[in-house]
């Protein structure tokens, strides 16, 4: 069984982090980040042209993670490839030793850096999960036999703070029915709200493991920016005040402290099964966040 799946099944508090592939062929920093976190987490996501900005492919970055001894989680969005492209990359990923896949719809092209590009969205995230499960049963989406099936630990995402929440939850139920094994949530900051989401999730979930999304806050400005511009992210005023209270030049330190505190609370109160840490561009501080969380 794949390492990440084993961790999910073990009942331990699971921790994943992610690396954002670089734009260009210099992978020095990416490799540094992978090396810093690979032995401290149960899985490392590689983002897929995140924010619709063209970069090294998620699949290639997963291979790098694997080569460095990490456990890669392949993020796949539906924005850039049709069903044939996605399926063929799933086959490729599996034979290269990538055992985990996270299925996402993907941001729209016009939020990124190729504004004139054709958006694909041949499949959506639920259909992509279905495709993975079909390929595990030995067939592709065209109904054709594979000479050998794939095997993945397959996950998806959910946005617990989405407003209105009901349509989001209905889609989440479809993902659960399609057979996801784990969920990494969009960033959460209001733990009480998240507990309400978890009450609902536990009802529809079956065995799906839920990892709460933790995005590192790097300052009050960033928090306010996310509140104004990133759908589904709500940073409470109290946290913004706390970030403001940080000494000059220490805001990131405060953000690390907040992330560590949240992770500790989630773990101590057994609110969900683990966390997914997104340090967006500051992957080097993930070990500090883990230390702050007592992990």
């Amino acid at each position: 069984m794949a390492k990440f799946k084993e961790a999910l099944n073990s009942g331990k508090f699971v921790v994943t982090a992610e690396v954002g592939p670089p734009k260009g062929t210099d992978i020095t920093e990416t490799l540094e980040h992978i090396d810093l976190i690979k032995d401290k987490v149960d899985g490392i996501n590689s983002t897929d042209n995140q924010s619709s900005v063209m970069r090294i492919s998620s699949l290639a970055t997963c291979v790098l993670i694997k080569q460095r001894g990490g456990e890669p989680i392949l993020q796949m969005t539906c924005r850039d490839r049709n069903r044939m492209g996605l399926e063929s990359d799933l086959l490729g990923a599996n034979v290269l030793g990538i055992d985990n896949v996270l299925c996402l719809t993907g941001d729209y092209v016009t939020v990124g850096d190729h504004l004139d590009a054709k958006p694909v969205f041949d499949l959506d995230s639920v259909q992509l999960v279905q495709a993975v499960r079909m390929m595990e049963a030995g067939k592709d989406l065209g109904g054709n036999e594979l000479n050998a099936p794939v095997k993945f630990c397959c996950g998806a995402i959910v946005t617990p703070e989405s407003d209105p929440i009901e349509p989001q939850l209905m889609k989440y139920e479809k993902k659960v029915k399609a057979g996801i094994e784990f969920v990494q949530t969009q960033a959460i900051y209001d733990i009480e709200n998240f507990k309400k989401f978890m009450q609902y999730a536990r009802k529809v979930n079956g065995d799906v493991k839920i990892l709460a999304g933790i995005v590192l806050l790097t300052g009050a400005g960033m928090a306010k920016y996310m509140n104004a511009n990133v759908p589904g992210i709500v940073v409470p005023d109290a946290l913004i005040e706390e970030l403001k209270s940080a000494e000059k030049g220490k805001a990131v330190q405060k953000g690390i402290e907040i992330a560590g505190r949240m992770i500790k609370q989630i773990k101590d109160e057994k609110i969900c099964d683990g966390v997914h840490i997104m340090a967006i561009g500051r992957e080097g501080v993930v070990p500090d966040i883990l230390a702050a969380a007592g992990l």
Binding site: R83, T105, D107, D124, P167, Q168, M170
Partner: protein
Amino acid sequence: MKSITKQKDFEAVKEILEPFDRIFIFGCGTCTTMTHTGGVEEVAEMCGKLQELGKLVTGSTVVPTACDEVTEEIMKQHGQAIENATAILVMSCALGVQKIASYIEKPVIPAVDTLFIGVEDTPGTFKEACDQCGQCIIGETAGICPITACHKGLVNGPCGGTSNGKCEVDKERDCAFTLIYNRLKIQGRLDLMKKYHEPKNYHVEPRPKVIKVS
């Protein structure tokens, strides 16, 4: 249903007409008249602009519906003026442009870009209504088409980019799935939102699409 167009930038029209000195202009009395992109006034304005460039406008007409069969008859009535032209400039949607091009060997050049098939939402505002996908699901989505109302054309529910019922791509636009949810709720049919929709068939009618009605 209307074919929604916008006028091409005049510089682009000027560039493509550069090799041609004698022009016949067609407008359309239906869609481009309604969108003010190729009706009587716009055709007159185009005549003036081309004349200013030193071109000879051999004639012009606004046909009732450029994509209709009648267009061929009207073209015959303008036979001499069309014969005198070296190129035909068409201020109708692409349907009319192609109809006219099918009747004549001379270069036929569009003066407008065809954007979408839409309906007038509020006076002067046209909204895309149908992508003509060949697999209509609006019976299950409360009459709202997620293929056109959602910028990603999703069918299984909202993406993570929805915020306060609006779309991340444009905060002025409603999230299709919030609209669908609200209406299905009123209809007492929310269970429909939990229905899984299979990947679409993009070849219900393979391209080039041709249907023979018997």
